[in-house]
Symmetry: C2
Subunit: 888 residues, 2 copies
Amino acid sequence: MTQKRVYLFKEGNAGMKNLLGGKGANLAEMTNAGLPVPQGLTITTETCLEYIDKGNQMPAGLMDEVKEALADVEKETGKKFGDASNPLLVSVRSGSRLSMPGMMETVLNLGLNDQTMQGILKLTQNERFVYDSYRRFLTMFGSVVQDIERDKFEKILDQLKEKEGVSLDTEVSLDGLKELVVKYKELVKKETGSEFPQDPYTQLQLAIEAVFKSWNIPRAIAYRNHYKIDHRYGTAVNVQTMVFGNMGDDSATGVSFTRNPSTGENKFYGEYLTNAQGEDVVAGIRTPKPISELAEEMPALYNQYVEIAQKLERHYKDIQDMEFTIERGKLYILQTRNGKRTAQAALKIAVDMEEEGIINKERAIQLVDPNQLYQLLLPSFDPESKKQAKCIAKGLNASPGAAVGKIIFDPTEAEERAKAGESVILVRIETCPDDIHGMIPARGVLTSRGGMTSHAAVVARGMGKPCVAGCEIVKINLEQETMTSPEGKVYKKDDIISLDGATGEVFEGSIKTIDPQMGGDFEKLLSWADEIKTLAVRANADTPQDALKAMELGAKGIGLCRTEHMFMEQDRLPVVQQMIISGTEKARKEALEKLLPMQYQDFKDMFKALKGLPMTIRLLDPPLHEFLPNKEELIAEVAEMKAKSQDASKKEELLETVLNLSESNPMMGLRGCRLGLTYPEINEMQVRAIFEAACDLKLEGIEVKPEVMIPLIGHVNELKTARKQLEEVAQQVMSEKGVEIDYQFGTMIEIPRAALTAEQVAEYAEFFSFGTNDLTQMTFGYSRDDAEGKFLNNYVEQQILPTNPFETLDQEGVGQLMEMAIAKGKSQRPNIKLGICGEHGGDPESVKFCHRIGLNYVSCSPFRVPVARLAAAQATIEEQTNKTLVIR
Amino acid sequence: MTQKRVYLFKEGNAGMKNLLGGKGANLAEMTNAGLPVPQGLTITTETCLEYIDKGNQMPAGLMDEVKEALADVEKETGKKFGDASNPLLVSVRSGSRLSMPGMMETVLNLGLNDQTMQGILKLTQNERFVYDSYRRFLTMFGSVVQDIERDKFEKILDQLKEKEGVSLDTEVSLDGLKELVVKYKELVKKETGSEFPQDPYTQLQLAIEAVFKSWNIPRAIAYRNHYKIDHRYGTAVNVQTMVFGNMGDDSATGVSFTRNPSTGENKFYGEYLTNAQGEDVVAGIRTPKPISELAEEMPALYNQYVEIAQKLERHYKDIQDMEFTIERGKLYILQTRNGKRTAQAALKIAVDMEEEGIINKERAIQLVDPNQLYQLLLPSFDPESKKQAKCIAKGLNASPGAAVGKIIFDPTEAEERAKAGESVILVRIETCPDDIHGMIPARGVLTSRGGMTSHAAVVARGMGKPCVAGCEIVKINLEQETMTSPEGKVYKKDDIISLDGATGEVFEGSIKTIDPQMGGDFEKLLSWADEIKTLAVRANADTPQDALKAMELGAKGIGLCRTEHMFMEQDRLPVVQQMIISGTEKARKEALEKLLPMQYQDFKDMFKALKGLPMTIRLLDPPLHEFLPNKEELIAEVAEMKAKSQDASKKEELLETVLNLSESNPMMGLRGCRLGLTYPEINEMQVRAIFEAACDLKLEGIEVKPEVMIPLIGHVNELKTARKQLEEVAQQVMSEKGVEIDYQFGTMIEIPRAALTAEQVAEYAEFFSFGTNDLTQMTFGYSRDDAEGKFLNNYVEQQILPTNPFETLDQEGVGQLMEMAIAKGKSQRPNIKLGICGEHGGDPESVKFCHRIGLNYVSCSPFRVPVARLAAAQATIEEQTNKTLVIR
């Protein structure tokens, strides 16, 4: 027997999100909670995948199942699908397990045809409403299901409005609407070669297929790629009885949030329009009224609605984003879902709800996306600089944050220019899902139309991108690529503006930005996280400044101090170059003697900043030629000098050294411990500097915990040999100074072979630190420098890879090696210390994986420390939840 | 209790080779077989490692164990160590589990001092013998144990001979010998600051330590590295009663082989000297007599010796290399071991012994080193060219083969010049272990002194290097770096000569070489191998010529056809470049259309050559910039043209393309399937060419078996996507042609991630071919191009790595990934075809590993095919032997 593909709302519940999609599961949940939900049915997400896997073919029997379910709905509503006397009209919507606003297709008023139209006309006696609905249906069905460009419908409407001399759709005459229906049908016939399908079941099947297909349209794929959503989730299809907000002035439609999704303020929040359909609110075509006005217009309905909303918030333990329609004085809840919110709002809502007793600390921690937290650490405008800047307009503060960049009007150009490294602000009249590719790379978004729930506002908030929406006082001309301020000043493409998404202000020119101030909610939530989490969080830092910043943000030590950055400093580089260029050990040692006091001071300053917290110091890692002048430039210089008969002998000599050191694949060449084993004196100098600094500080009474890390181990003998050499130096320094230091030696696990033979490596390593950047490079065979520019983006776009493995850890491949290394390492040394110092240490998903596989700590860039702390706490909570599930 | 460290000969047996060393185990075996072996004791190889691991310290109690064992020897011989009236003298020799001729130190006559000398004098009444022995002992002990330069002893001897007006050592007067003893003792005191140690036990301990230490002297390490011998084997020490071949004309000493080790001829073969010690024969200082003369000089002893030799050959089922001494008419066997032999001899001996009924086919197969077989495939001299060449001298045909190169006299210079790519012939008066580093890279070796068992001869045979030894008719002057022919013509450094190691001829100038002729024994042995082996052997071949050669050498198909080599051909390259430089898909397709007929013809020719055998075709693999001009040269050219104010715009344009395509780490960049997924039209053209060729041939009645291999898979989706694309092309071609081809699609496993997720990859791969070159690169994180020049040799020398993993497969790391991939691959697709196409497919050790882990075939370069066939058979035999052991 095949699986059940179609569920009535009353057959589902909130737990069936994976199968019914978020929307379908919530409709079911609400139905069963006795809320006024228009009845309907949901086709499962699995059916969508079945359709796709069959090469876009309807599974046999599916329409029969739909008809059967629809019969039940007909019975409940007393209406009949396709019936000329009392016809049932439905909406057809997509709904995946995760909310993807605006990404999927929707068709309203389905079931309308020349017969049923007459039936409704008879029932409602509202000719205007019926023709308006019919022309809307023809537009949506034509554009969404039949692939006719929407502009073609709009053009006919615009011509009509011009002819009638009106500007709003609602002002079009009844005759005009009738004319539209005729003209739209002609358009459909011209474009598709067939008459508009009059059979309601044909309409329904085509609409269902359109939803299925829309799962794989480019903008849906782009959205999933951006948000790292699995492409195999599929979408459900919800077929729901239509209710009408456009049946007159006793009808309305709106969207609302239980709290302010921008600031987090605990105040009912939303927008509505009377005599309108839902799409009018969301698309931003008419600017809607604030929900508070509904309290005056229809107080009883408003109170009923607020009561339902509060009930839903407590039920779902999260802020709710709801859609409602009032049809001739009766309230219907069309949808509820957890609301998208800004980082600031997420934080405030989580802390507030805990303090209001609605949720516990664990739930509060889960309510904040760690990546959002990062936004709160982003710079905002410097108040002084902002005071002096010229504010040219003010719109809605749709998504907070500070953005500075060049005005770009075309999303595709915005994408290209941003790719080229420029800061751009995308400026549009309004945005639609087709513009996503230009919004993603823009620093900020400015629109002249649409409210706080317009597409631009919702999407920007989700992305944590500054957005000023509905800034109607500026005039945007997309064709001429100009934006005109209320003062009449014309801004062109490439002019620089600044947006303050928190206030809605738009400024001329560039404003200085400053570090953000972390508020009390921030500290509160992270202190809860620290109570719960078991994974320690360290930071990657190479300077005392970075180390101090990291500790301010809650780091408990340094997991990676890259000593090569110390070599790169202006005053050191000539000495480093001298060391490299000298061909003999003697000359190398002379240069190293000059470097020793500098490195000594580096480490002393770092240890001081750390106040006794541990510091993992990686010995020199990069290939030596990185410290020398650029090869290509030198070649050109020498060729030029010779062509001009100048004396190039000195340059040539340098070039020879550079050529000798240059490698075909430097990433896999003479670097890391290979360098140390070839020229032991370099690492010996470094270890001497570390221990001299440590000893001197200890003599001053300052605690130090150095962890010396030998990089790029592939074979145990490399570590064995290097450690022996270097530990001798350490012992010698300590005996010279007469001080005992609490130190460790360990290694990075970044070469696949080290992971495969970790039981051997662990014999000589007191700790493993997973260098997942290099480990990812070698496990995939990708040179990151080349891959990201040449094919990796294409791979993610083509869905060959689910995500960029340098951003989110590849648990299946790289993670498998990590798990092997941990098991093997522990078999040799049960109490081995385990950490990660690749960039993944600041990626929430990867941090959670690190928790699950049993690392002791993650180390990430200082600004990512709060992200990691929160993610680590979430990992603990998720683990406990899973354990509870298992125990049940 | 500590382990037993000292074994009497009678306590051991041949099976204890790992513990007692080859020499010790054989002495024990011979003792127990009742052969006339001078008695003694063996200190275990483990004791050597114990000594080394303790930082060169004698394990406590070891000397007591030695004394105890020596007491037993004293009882057997009736002599007493250090006794002035009837003293026991001993030899002290090294002996590892594998024979390492000349690499380890030996001391004879140990136990001699001023007192025991008198005792022997009284017993033998042969003053000359005693003083001669004493001065020999002083020389050996001084140079080997006390680190005094041997030259200093030789100089004193030379001065004496000059004074006495004699040329041979044996001509020195008795008084002269007495004077030598005094002068040598003075030398020892001067050099060491102490008197020569008179206490025999002190002598013994020092000698034992010298043997232990010699395990790690540079030349021993170099030898082990060259022959890939484990550095942790250690050496045993054999302390054996001295017998004397220098007690007069009824005494003699010699070495012999049961068969001719150069040709394999079944004829007793060897050399001896009367009134001499063994070292005189081996060192090549006196040119010895052929063993056949012993039959006339001492017929009874000769017959006894031959009888023992034949018994030993049957016992050990292998050619024996024996040392004997006749002391006053009594025969002693000092040593027997399996004899080193030339490739030609190994083959002949194996086949002969099987046909003589001494061994079975399995044993015959085991008797030939697969690497040696390779030598038989090396070129020899063209007879016509040789006829016209001027033969300037003839020496002993010590090791067969043809060599052409420049005369170089200094081993170090030979090494350097060979490294620089020159062909050199090392020319020496005689060679010693210190010269190994110059012998290894030389094309051939010529010596003017020493016989068939001289150092040069033995070592060269082991290396499969042409050698002419004992060519006394040329005069070599090492100081002036000249070689004078009998005619009086002087050849200087850098003059070119040719050596025929099979005939002993030396020619002036260069002789043309030709492909070798494989004889009947060759075919016979390999046919036995084919009967036994289960692993198939294919070849890597890119041209029909290579394919034909491979099949001639027994390949059963092509395991790797690299299509890029086809792209590199002169007439193709401009079209390939055109394709790469064109920025658009359209222009690329135009260029590809020109390439299609060329590739079609390539594949057609290959298929024809294969006559129905399978061919694995790898789609384009290298990064595209490999087909473009060199970047550095272009940069210099452009800079030069600009400096000279020439129009460089065209070159600049090309440079821009080259720079766009250039990568930081091309090995891990846009290549392999990444190329095919980025520009699908390239692979589509290749697959079209393959299937058009296959279909057309099938229509002509010729069988074809294409296996399309998609390279560099790291994620299953790469393979899934590429295969879908390409199989569509294949299907289309077949339907166009109306022919069905028996084909497969598969992939290389060369990226660690592919091995780690092989169960997924196998869903879309009908075969896996392990690309162990790249897999080794990524598993170790080594770029082979950089590593071998920059640190890998150093790693092997420093013993950080046991061997170069690009030559012999790293079973521990890379092999672990292979085993994982096999298990996971089979779990998904039980009948998946498994092969290897990295260079390891021609390395015997690696081939055996491939057999053990269950591959279906190995693929290697055509000339390595016989090597792989033999190794595969040996692997089967070894497996069966191990199974038998398990069953017991």
